[in-house]
Symmetry: C2
Subunit: 151 residues, 2 copies
């Protein structure tokens, strides 16, 4: 039961294989707390294994997103960012605090209780009123980080 075991299981469940490229990409995602772009992953993976191209990164990221292993975020300014989904990482449920100036992104997990109260009320109400089936939500706060204020 090695490192790739659980990923192998997950992918197999969707009819996919765990290849070396996919494992390398999952390693990058597993070993960072940042939100990484396809390019970020490419650079890391490519340094170790120059055989792996950017196309594979994109194709793998899409596959991982569709199997629910990772989440894709579009914070704006061009490139999408990825992170392991909560079920597949040690991360707690969190949302994002974003600096409008330097675009730094901070994950916060605080205020979960107040959040839950609001989210539950809104989700139930929206499902009823608009007849949606809601399964996800996203909260961003935007502002200026301390470094950008003084800098």
């Amino acid at each position: 039961m090695g490192r790739g075991y659980k990923w192998g299981q997950k992918l197999a469940g969707h009819g996919f294989r765990l290849t070396a490229a996919r494992e390398a990409i999952l390693d990058v995602l597993s070993s960072t707390n940042e939100h990484v772009s396809a390019e970020d992953i490419y650079m890391t993976v490519h340094a170790d294994n120059p055989r792996i191209g950017l196309t594979t990164i994109y194709r793998t990221l899409e596959l991982l997103e569709q199997t629910g292993i990772i989440c894709k975020f579009e914070f704006g300014h061009g490139r999408a960012k990825y992170e392991l989904s909560e079920a597949n990482s040690h991360k707690k449920h969190h949302h994002h605090l974003i600096c409008k100036k330097c675009r730094k992104i901070i994950d916060y997990t605080e205020f979960a209780k107040a959040e839950r109260e609001y989210i539950q009320k809104a989700e139930t109400g929206l499902e009823k009123k608009y007849r949606f089936t809601i399964d996800d939500h996203l909260i961003h706060f935007y502002g200026i980080c301390p470094e950008c204020k003084t800098g």
Copy 2:
């Protein structure tokens, strides 16, 4: 005090002029409740006045965003969408309910009280903990709309 009066004032305050192209773009934004893309605006404006090119649309949208007249949203899937900011439209404070399948976007204004409670608590707490100056937030709910469920 004609139609473009208030826009003229706003733009002048930032050292910009209200040109015909800019007025046409603001007209499109004012007369829709949808979230429109640069291309959407281009098509409408260009139909009336073929002289106006896509470059002007992009340049104007950036200018309007920076003067706070409009808001830019990146819902993902490529194109940015724009709408008049709350201060410049008759819209109430709202957030978005997004269908993952057909990408329809619904504005909702409900649950403002519960939202305010959560947002205030989180904003104050995050400002204190992370020393950010927060001035905006965004909430999205994702799900499947009734049409996509039955369709």
